[in-house]
């Protein structure tokens, strides 16, 4: 049976640990050996939304495993511009590749692609819903930074309403235990209530809301910053009102605990000043590096090839 990577809700804790263990193992596999893992394999990238890291790291991951990547980075250069439906596009492109990677502004698109296609499908972001490959690389980064996923106090900051990386990561983290989440957002960008599970469904996980970034910095192990995403706002005036609600700079980090780490899925706009990059707290480019190795782990897992 084929395997997809559509939603964190589909993954057990064991599945997640499998991806993390494989990524850890891949760190030790020599580059020349990796090149022999997927020779001749073709990955199709279907990106209906802009992307830098996700698309390029998937393509680089495939190339480093000996395969090739083809696809489109904008739908307006395809028959979608002529009105072709998603279903027909998937049924067409699946003839040209061994695995599909899809990003789309509408929620649930990757699920539809996974149902239609006989190939493994990777959700590279579906609207405000999920971004599971980002989540797996975030979990891998957390594990490498802290040596554990659990017994951590994590602040999510910024756009918690529309951020699919936050939605995905919270869905994954609640499968672990002993976690305290501090949710820092403007009133209009609060985390949707349907993402907060009833207490009986998670092991010792708490949620608390605040509007104080300073307090979160002083009390948390990890601060996960997010960009306020212009493209998700139905009302541009509301975007203007909240776009710079939380800006992290080196001054705010004065006196922060030394073990604090800052993550961000990138791209950033104004929410993290460049002065933070030079501090020991900054871990967002570590995420970028980990993204390549985790996406290799995802491709190997879904294509059923040993590392």
């Amino acid at each position: 049976m084929k395997r997809d990577l559509i939603s964190l809700d589909d993954l057990s804790l064991e599945d997640i640990r499998g991806y993390l263990d494989l990524a850890t193992h891949l760190e030790t596999v020599p580059d020349e050996r990796k090149l022999t893992r997927l020779p001749g394999a073709i990955m199709m990238t279907m990106f209906y939304e802009p992307s830098t890291r996700t698309r390029l790291s998937f393509e680089a991951a495939m190339c480093r495993l000996g395969g090739r990547a083809i696809g489109f980075a904008a739908a307006d250069a395809t028959s979608v511009a002529k009105g072709e439906s998603l279903v027909d596009t998937v049924r067409t492109v699946e003839n040209y590749a061994d695995i599909l990677v899809i990003r789309h502004p509408k929620e649930g698109t990757a699920r539809v692609a996974g149902e239609i296609s006989l190939l493994p499908v990777i959700n590279a972001g579906d609207g405000a819903n999920q971004h599971p490959s980002q989540t797996l690389l975030d979990l891998y980064t957390i594990q490498r930074l802290f040596g554990r996923i659990g017994n951590l106090k994590i602040a999510f900051v910024g756009d918690l309403k529309y951020s699919r990386t936050v939605h995905s990561l919270i869905r994954a983290l609640i499968k672990f235990s002993h976690l305290d989440f501090v949710l820092v957002s403007p009133e209009s960008l609060r985390l949707p209530t349907y993402l907060v599970p009833p207490p009986e469904q998670c092991m010792d996980v708490t949620f608390r809301e605040t509007q104080s970034l300073e307090e979160a910095i002083q009390s948390c192990d990890l601060v996960y910053m997010t960009r306020v995403q212009r493209e998700r706002f139905p009302d541009s005036l509301e975007f203007e009102r909240v776009k710079d609600a939380y800006c992290l700079d080196a001054d705010i980090l004065q006196g922060a605990p030394s073990h604090l780490r800052i993550m961000h899925p990138l791209p950033r706009v104004n929410e993290i000043a460049y002065s933070v990059d030079r501090t020991t707290y900054a871990s967002y480019f570590t995420q970028v590096r980990n993204g390549l190795i985790m996406r290799q782990a995802i491709l190997l897992t879904l294509l059923g090839v040993a590392p």
């Binding site: 939603s7 809700d9 998603l86 279903v87 929620e107 649930g108 539809v112």
Partner: protein, 158 residues
């Protein structure tokens, strides 16, 4: 006028279906679901509103002169109004009765409330909901993964 007299305002049914214990106000909504099933076009139907009920205080009631309700209509009704009773009447006697429960999943019965859900933006994509909290009647869209209260979701009328 006594309660018995009032009940007699709806004729007794010899052979057919009685939908009973409908919370007051829901009778018309259920009739609307039934009416839109093409197979129901020529069926004789009576509707009673605000009848006295010893269990519920007041209730609505529908009688249909037909053999069976289609499974799709029953599913639709169960989503709009779970907990009501359906009785199969033969020769003026209740041959069979069952209480309908909300289904554990509903494919192409309800419309997703999320305007950015792929089921609202792509043609030929069926909706699909799964019950995630039976007590609070919460359903999750299997595509956009949002959770909604059943009372907020609108049925898809074929």
């Amino acid at each position: 006028m006594s309660d018995t007299d009032r009940v007699l305002l709806i004729p007794k049914i010899d052979n057919g279906i009685v939908i009973d214990h409908i919370p007051p106000g829901f009778g018309i909504a259920i009739l609307e679901i039934i009416r839109r099933d093409p197979a129901m076009r020529d069926v004789v139907v009576t509707l009673g509103l605000n009848y006295h009920s010893s269990k519920m205080g007041k209730k609505d009631l529908i009688k249909l002169w037909l053999d069976e309700l289609s499974p799709r209509v029953v599913q639709h009704i169960s989503l709009v109004c779970p907990g009501i009773t359906i009785k199969k009447i033969t020769n003026y006697e209740v041959e069979r009765r069952y209480v309908i429960r909300p289904p554990q999943s509903a494919r192409n019965l309800l419309r997703c409330l999320n305007p950015s859900c792929v089921t609202n933006t792509e043609p030929n994509v069926d909706t699909n909901f799964t019950m995630v909290d039976e007590e609070k009647k919460k359903l999750k869209c299997m595509y956009c993964e949002r959770v909604f209260s059943l009372k907020d979701l609108k049925p898809i009328i074929p």
